[in-house]
Structure formats: C-alpha cells, structure tokens
C-alpha cells in the first residue's frame, strides 16, 4: 500500500502518537484506566500499522523477529524477576511492599515493573503473531 499517499502520510503521522499513547497507558496505568496488557496491544498495533502500510520487509527491518521473540521472553523475566526481588528483600514472592522502605512506594514500584514486563511481552507477542500470519505464504 506504499503508493497510497494519504494512507502513508497519515500513518507516518499517527505512529509516533500511537506509541506515545501506549506509553501513557502503560505508565499512567496505576492512576487511570490502563495497564500493561492494553499498552502492549496499542504499542504492538503501531508496528502492525507500519507493517500493513509499508510492507512486511520494512517491518521486519524495524523490528527484527529474532529480537522480538527474545522480548517476549524478556517481559516474562521482568515480571518474574520483580517477584524474586520481593523474595530477596525478605518478603514473599511478588511482595512489592518490601522493595522500598516505605511499603506504599514499594507497592508502587513493584506494580510499575510488573506491568512493564506485561507490556513488553504483550507488545512483542502481538508483533510476532502479526509476522507469523502475514508471512505465512513464505
């Protein structure tokens, strides 16, 4: 669809804002509606839009599949690692209260990290699913 000028320019214009909105949903998730899953889907959709308009080859160059696959795993590691951090700080697994001297601040930090892990995995999974379906005939 590279020859559709309107689509190309509008999507070029939109993609940074989609990503920014994803980051807002990600990091504002503990105050407003949102969180890692929603943010991950929105972030992934920016890449999917790019892939749809500019073609799979370019999308693969922007987000190399080998790296994206590893990001799926890395997100899970961030989540589980936060759980372990609570464990090493003297609490139970996933107990964020002990991450900082102030339990409320600890909870805040913990949920931020966990949601970041979720967001990473979801975004990377969305992109991987898109790559797999779009590149099926190859």
């Amino acid at each position: 669809m590279r020859h559709h000028r309107v689509l190309r320019i509008i999507s070029k214009l939109l993609i940074p804002f989609i990503m920014l909105f994803a980051l807002y949903v990600q990091f504002h998730g503990d105050f407003g509606p949102g969180g890692g899953f929603q943010a991950g889907v929105i972030f992934g959709s920016a890449f999917i839009l790019y892939g749809l308009i500019f073609g799979l080859e370019y999308a693969r160059m922007v987000a190399p599949p080998a790296i994206v696959t590893r990001l799926v795993a890395a997100g899970v590691l961030i989540f589980a690692g936060t759980g372990y951090a609570g464990l090493f700080a003297g609490g139970n697994f996933l107990d964020y209260g002990v991450l900082k001297s102030d339990p409320v601040a600890g909870q805040h930090l913990g949920i931020l990290l966990v949601e970041f892990g979720v967001g990473t995995t979801v975004a990377a999974s969305m992109i991987t699913i898109f790559f797999l379906f779009a590149g099926r005939d190859r």
């Binding site: 590893r70 697994f93 996933l94």
Partner: protein, 496 residues
C-alpha cells in the same frame, strides 16, 4: 538455607517458570536443555523437601505476594499435593534427562530451545495446579499447562500431529471453560475463591441451583481434562503423534493432575456427603470408569501403532483410578492415589522405551518393530518390566495398585467389581503380549538388520523408570505411607 524453607512453596512453581523464558533467551538447544534440566532437578529437590516437611510437620501455607488469604492467593502443601508434586517433578526430570537425543531427532532444528521452554511451562502449570489453594489459580495453571502441551504436541514430526494438537485444543478448551464456569458460579454464590474458605461457605448454600450447576460443570470439565471415557477422544491422537518425550511426560502426569483436582474439589471443597449422598457422583463416576476399563483395553488390542495402543491403555487405567475415587472410602482414595503414582511410572517407562525404538527405526508401528528383541535387549527389558507392571504381576508396582484397588472394592462389598477389574486386566494381557510377541517371536523385518541398541542417554532414564516399577513393587513404604496420609487428609471430617 533455613530462611529459604518458608519460600519453598513459591520456588516450587516459579523456578521452572523463570527458567522457561531463559531457555528462549539462551537460543541454543544444548544450553536450553541444561537450563531446563537444572530447573526441573531443583523442582524435584524442592518437592522432596516439601513432601518430607508436610509428612512430618503437617500442612504448609504460603501467602503469595504477602496478601493474607482468603483475599490473596494461597499456596497449600499437604501430603496429597506434595505426593503429586513429587510425581510430576521427578517424572519431568527423568524425561528431560532422556530428551536431548530424541529432541535432536524429532524436533525441527532451530526449535529445540522453544521445545524446552514449552516443556518447562507445562511442568510449571502441572506443579501449580497441584500446589495452589485457590480455585481460580487452578484454572490459570490448567491453561498454562494446556496451552504449552498443545504447542508441544504440534511439534511432533508428522503432519497429523497438527490435527491431534488442534483436536486436543478444542476439547481441552471446552474442559477448561466448563471448569471456569463452575468456579465462576461458586464465586457468585460465596464471594470467595480460596479453597479452604469455599469449604466453610458451601454447606450453607449447597442445595441452591448455582452450586449444583457449579459442581456439575467442574466435574465434567475435569473429566474431559482427565480423559475419562467417553470424553477421552482427544487422548489417543495426542499421545500417538506427540514427540516421544512429550508422550512420556504427559501420559505420566497431565491426566493424573486433573484427577487430583477432581479429588480436591469433590472431597475438600464440596465434601463427600454433598457429592455422594445429595448427588449421584457414585454412579456418574463408576459407570464411565467401568466402560473405560473395557473400552480402553479393547481398543488397545486392535491398535497397529504401539504409542496409540499405550494411549488407549491409559484410558483404561484412568478408568481404574476413577473407579477407586467413586468408592469414596479411605481405602478407595488411597488406591486412587497409589495408582496415580504407579501408573505414572509405568507409562513413563513404556513411552520412553517407545521413544528409544522410534529413535532407531523411525516408527512405532507394531509390524515395523518385529524381531527387534535381540538387537535392542535393554529397551526390551524396559518394555517387559513396564508391561508386567501394567498387567499387575506380583513384584511390580502395578500389582500394588491392583491389590489396593481390589481391597477397596471388597471393603465396599462390591465383589462384582473385583470380577470386572480382573477381567479387564486380562485384556491388558492380550495387548502387552502382542508387543512382546512381535519383539521376540516374529521374524525380523527386512532392513532392520543394522539396528543397534538406543543411545545410553535415552536408555539409562528408561531403565531407571522401568526399575522404579520393580522397586516400588517391592519396597512400597514411601508411596503407600504418603497415599494413606493424603487419603486421611482428604476425607478428614467427612461424615461417611
């Protein structure tokens, strides 16, 4: 070390969970295998320590995230769950030791590390189901283990593996959804998901229709997951077309864990009085169980592929376990738990042996393996030991299972059931004999002359598993002590 012990219930699940993404990051099959083996061996050690602690000091409770139950997720280790944890983790480790050669042969190159990731996730799910004390958390782990096992089955070399995985995906999802609907109804009526909390709240409202519906949904959902006849149709293809290691691991553990959840919900949460006096669970389980014993064994006799044959045999064996649960007595539950353990050993040994044969001749068809007895003597030893155990010959683990099963049936004055158990065991003799006959007494197939014994890395775990069948047929102290203790615990306080 002492500060580590209170954290063991969490570590039991999260060590394999953490290692699974590490396998993906490792990228190389050999390294991923090493990570998986380390995680799985740690899980086995953890399970052994937990089993020891619960047996001697009683139930352990763990508050996930520091949230107090019933609000937070609670992990509960008692002898019943520790028994299942130990079975799942140790079989998982044995099969992992066995895996590298067969993965190299059966999994498309470049995918080995993903195989080990999925394997660890499946292990995580099964361990989680056994350890959690939260009804919804059971569903989450059920899905983790199921989704990863769909992927594992689809990795099988033949194209039919894809349809088998898809079939299992549809059936498994229906089962998990039924379970979730049941849990949802319970949550609606009680406002809690904690198992211990559910136990105290259900008696007051047990005649309400949503609770009855919840019980029905949960029982049917779990029966589907456990492949109880006539809901077993996904199982033969799934086991037959999965990679060898997956067949061995799943046949030994996956359906057993569902049966364990059935025990938990029936006895701990709803209570035997509700399930067996108010509701006809006795007949609901007994009739399919008896059909499973015969239909499974009959179907096994006519299979041409030994992996399929063993899969149908699993359907029959699940019948025995369900039968023992249906008796709802202390002896019955003990027999069920013992057979869960012993059948795990038998099927792991037999499927591993089939993997050895597949590694050498590229097929598990009974015609293709004719006359291999002389060329692969050690693999054949494992098959014979596993087969004898399946029949229930004295001095094998299978005999102990059958013995306790018959005792339990006699205690409930069901002598006709004893007749049926013995008759269906005769059918097992027919299909086990078909394998032995093909291996020892048939003329070797042309082209099989150069076949040698399987590599030591596969042979050793197979023989250890086969040896375990003999060992636990002679020294029965550990499984029986744990099973009896667990049965007491499940039936404690039940008016029965």
């Amino acid at each position: 070390m002492s500060s580590l012990i209170p954290q063991l219930p969490a570590l039991q699940v999260v060590i394999p969970l953490f290692a699974a993404p590490l396998c993906v990051l490792a990228g190389r099959t050999g390294l991923a295998w090493f990570i998986a083996l380390a995680a799985s061996a740690t899980a086995t050690l953890t399970a052994a320590v937990l089993a020891y602690l619960t047996y001697h000091n009683g139930t352990i409770s763990y508050e996930m995230g520091g949230w107090e139950p019933p609000w937070g997720i609670e992990y509960v280790v008692d002898t019943a769950s520790a028994f299942i944890l130990l079975l799942v983790a140790s079989i998982g480790t044995m099969v992992l030791i066995y895996s590298p050669a067969s993965v190299g042969k059966e999994i498309r190159s470049g995918r080995g590390h993903l195989y080990y990731c999925m394997y660890l996730l499946c292990l995580t799910g099964l361990l989680g189901i056994a350890i959690t004390g939260d009804a919804f958390n059971v569903f989450v782990f059920l899905e983790i283990s199921s989704l990863s096992s769909y992927a594992l089955i689809a990795m099988g070399g033949q194209r039919k593996a894809l349809t088998a995985a898809f079939q299992y995906l549809i059936m498994g999802t229906i089962g998990a959804t039924f379970f979730l609907i049941g849990v949802g109804l319970l949550y609606m009526m009680t406002g809690t998901l904690n198992m211990a909390d559910l136990q105290t709240r259900i008696p007051g409202i047990q005649d309400s229709r949503p609770v009855l519906a919840a019980f029905a949904f949960i029982t049917v959902g779990l029966a589907l997951k456990a492949a109880l006849f006539p809901l077993h149709l996904w199982l033969p293809n799934a086991y037959a077309f999965a990679p060898s290691g997956v067949s061995a691991f799943m046949a030994a553990t996956a359906t057993k864990v569902s049966l364990y959840v059935l025990l938990r919900f029936t006895f701990t949460i709803f209570g035997a009085k509700f399930a067996f006096l108010n509701l006809p669970l006795y007949w609901v389980l007994l009739v399919p169980a008896v059909f499973a014993m015969f239909a499974g064994s009959f179907s096994a006799i006519f299979q041409r592929d030994v992996k399929r044959m063993l899969a149908y045999s699993s359907v029959a064996q699940i019948g025995y376990i369900t039968l023992a649960i249906a008796l709802a007595s202390s002896a019955g539950v003990t027999a069920a738990l013992i057979h869960i353990f012993n059948h795990g050993l038998m099927k792991a040994a037999l499927f591993c042996a089939m993997g050895c044969i597949f590694y050498r001749i590229g097929s598990t068809r009974i015609d293709a393996m004719a006359g291999l007895g002389k060329q692969m003597p050690w693999t054949m030893t494992a098959i014979v030991a596993g087969g004898l155990s399946l029949l229930g010959v004295p001095l094998t683990a299978g005999f102990i299972s059958k013995w306790y099963l018959v005792q339990a049936a006699l205690q409930s004055n069901l002598w006709w059931l004893v007749v049926l158990i013995v008759l269906s065991s005769m059918l097992a003799l027919v299909y086990v004999w078909r394998i032995v006959e093909a291996l020892y007494f048939k003329e070797p197939v042309a082209g099989n002359e150069g076949i040698r014994e399987a590599p030591l890395s596969m042979l050793l775990p197979t023989l250890l598993l086969a040896g375990a069948n003999v060992y636990f047929g002679i020294d029965t102290r550990v499984p029986i002590a744990m099973a009896e203790n667990a049965a007491d615990l499940l039936l404690r306080g039940q008016i029965w």
